[in-house]
């Protein structure tokens, strides 16, 4: 992570202390306030419980522990971790584990932060998963433009090698960075010598992935949770969170809050409480963007909603990549959305027609709406085009963009009316709020 990102998202006095039951992944960091070396890590958590992960490939004690803990993927899709482990272990032949540390979501810092302060938790999780499924190699995938993060992890890998901690090979890779290169099939395709673009299926990654071997791809945060569950057990994990969605997750809070931060919060924490933990809103809020750029706008009235998949589903939302951006009253949600859609359109892998042509069309319509340049057919055309995106790409990129667009039309319905009848609102001319990178197409995929 760059030093500015580290400074901006450093934990602050409002973050939990070491005694807080919700401080788990970050507990070591809260205790010392500095990145954990291997010695720090082992002192704090003890050695990784390798013996319990091995035990032959069937039965799979680690997968059983994950089932009992109810751990789900923290990369965005929220798939049960145990099922992924089981699916890979059930295939014949040597397996491969891939750590997805790409974190291409521009509003997210959680994986970068976690790797900066507790790299060994992530690596422990990857090694434990590898032992459990019978893999001899762990590939860690990072974006090429985060040199500091690469250095941090290679130092950690060297420390482990010198200490002869692991029985599997750990290999770091620096991949070209675009929004869709964090898709799990992009990683596999790149590791196989191809471009870092989504691949679609079949065969699925768990059947035939890296080197045609069964491949387990997990997000960095998921593996860190796994490492702690392997040590302390499912019952410990379930001490916080809700019965259906136990444990904690890392949330990157930004926007109109006093202290933007990466926070570890218990699942089920109301969104308003999460904002309070980031110092509270600096001004009255209009909405929050939840999940990420492929996420959902929620009007401020819904801030009492607990952060769980179950409670958010009726609102069409999900925790996603754990992104929460507070949008103040005095800003234009349509303009912000148009900027994000333009970025998402530029960052598609340009492989599938609906994404290559549909996404720019939706972004253009939205930009016209935000700028108050709408023609009579715009809204119906936009709705039709948004409806044509989901389920029609080789990956979920168009689905995410459609979710964002649809939720904006819903959350900012009054503004839509205003923009259609009177042109752009005054707020549309204020400086933008969301940190949207330039909408330029990725230079390289390899």
């Amino acid at each position: 992570m760059t030093s500015s990102a580290a400074a901006r998202f450093a934990p602050h006095p409002l973050a939990p202390g070491p005694g807080d039951p919700a401080a788990r992944l970050l507990a070591g960091w809260y205790a010392t306030g500095r990145p954990a070396t291997l010695a720090d890590h082992l002192r704090h958590y003890g050695p990784p419980p390798l013996a319990s992960a091995t035990g032959g490939r069937t039965p799979l004690p680690l997968a059983e522990a994950m089932t009992a803990a109810g751990l789900t993927g923290r990369g965005g899709a929220g798939f049960p971790t145990a099922r992924k482990l089981g699916a890979v272990a059930a295939r014949r032949g040597r397996c491969v584990v891939v750590v997805n540390a790409m974190e291409s979501e521009p509003a997210s810092r959680k994986d970068q932060f976690l790797i900066a302060v507790a790299p060994h938790l992530v690596l422990d999780g990857a090694v434990l998963a590898a032992m459990a499924v019978g893999a001899d190699t762990v590939h860690v995938c990072l974006p090429r433009d985060r040199a500091a993060q690469y250095r941090r992890l290679s130092t950690a890998v060297d420390e482990r090698r010198r200490a002869r901690l692991d029985q599997v090979r750990l290999r770091l890779h620096a991949l070209p960075h675009s929004y869709v290169s964090s898709e799990s099939t992009s990683l596999v395709r790149w590791l196989n010598g191809g471009p870092a673009r989504p691949q679609g299926g079949p065969p699925r990654t768990h059947e035939r992935g890296v080197g045609r071997r069964p491949t387990l791809v997990h997000n960095a945060e998921t593996l860190a949770h796994l490492a702690l569950i392997a040590r302390y057990g499912p019952a410990w994990y379930r001490q916080v969170g809700t019965p259906d969605e136990p444990g904690t997750l890392l949330v990157t809070v930004s926007g109109a809050v006093r202290a933007p931060a990466v926070l570890e919060v218990a699942l089920g924490t109301p969104l308003a409480t999460v904002l309070d933990r980031a110092g509270g809103a600096t001004q009255p809020l209009r909405a929050v963007l939840l999940g990420g750029f492929a996420g959902t706008w929620l009007p401020a009235e819904q801030l009492r909603t607990p952060l769980t998949r179950h409670d958010l589903a009726p609102l069409g939302a999900a925790p996603g990549a754990g992104v929460l951006v507070a949008l103040p009253e005095a800003s234009c949600g349509l303009t912000e959305t148009a900027r994000v859609l333009t970025y998402l359109a530029a960052h598609s892998a340009r492989q599938c027609g609906p994404c290559r042509l549909g996404l720019p069309a939706v972004a253009e319509d939205f930009t016209a709406l935000a700028a108050g340049r709408a023609d009579a057919d715009l809204l119906s055309r936009l709705r039709r085009r948004v409806g044509l995106l989901p389920d029609r790409g080789a990956c979920r990129h168009p689905d995410g963009a459609a979710r964002l667009a649809a939720s904006a039309l819903h959350a900012f319905a009054d503004d839509v009316d205003h923009h259609l009848t009177h042109g752009a609102c005054p707020a549309a001319h204020r400086p933008p709020r969301l940190p949207v990178p330039p909408a330029t197409a990725p230079e390289t995929w390899r």
Partner: protein, 70 residues
């Protein structure tokens, strides 16, 4: 008993222009850019021959029917 068959499009391979929609209009529409929209994935028995023909006619082999029994 006959097994259900479902349509699948390889979205990366598909180049649009829609020969498939001409041969199987009951199940396949085209969007405004010429790319197929599946109205229904399940191939009813009476359309099996048509579906087979559409699959065979796709110039880039992007259209598939999968056996759904598994």
């Amino acid at each position: 008993m006959s097994r259900a068959r479902t349509l699948r499009i390889d979205r990366i391979a598909c180049t649009g222009q829609g020969l498939c929609a001409e041969l199987l209009p009951e199940l396949i529409d085209l969007d405004e850019w010429g790319y197929p929209v599946l109205k229904d994935r399940t191939v009813p028995d009476r359309l099996r021959a048509h579906a087979r023909r559409a699959v065979a006619a796709c110039p880039v082999l992007a259209l598939h029917t999968d056996d759904d029994r598994t």
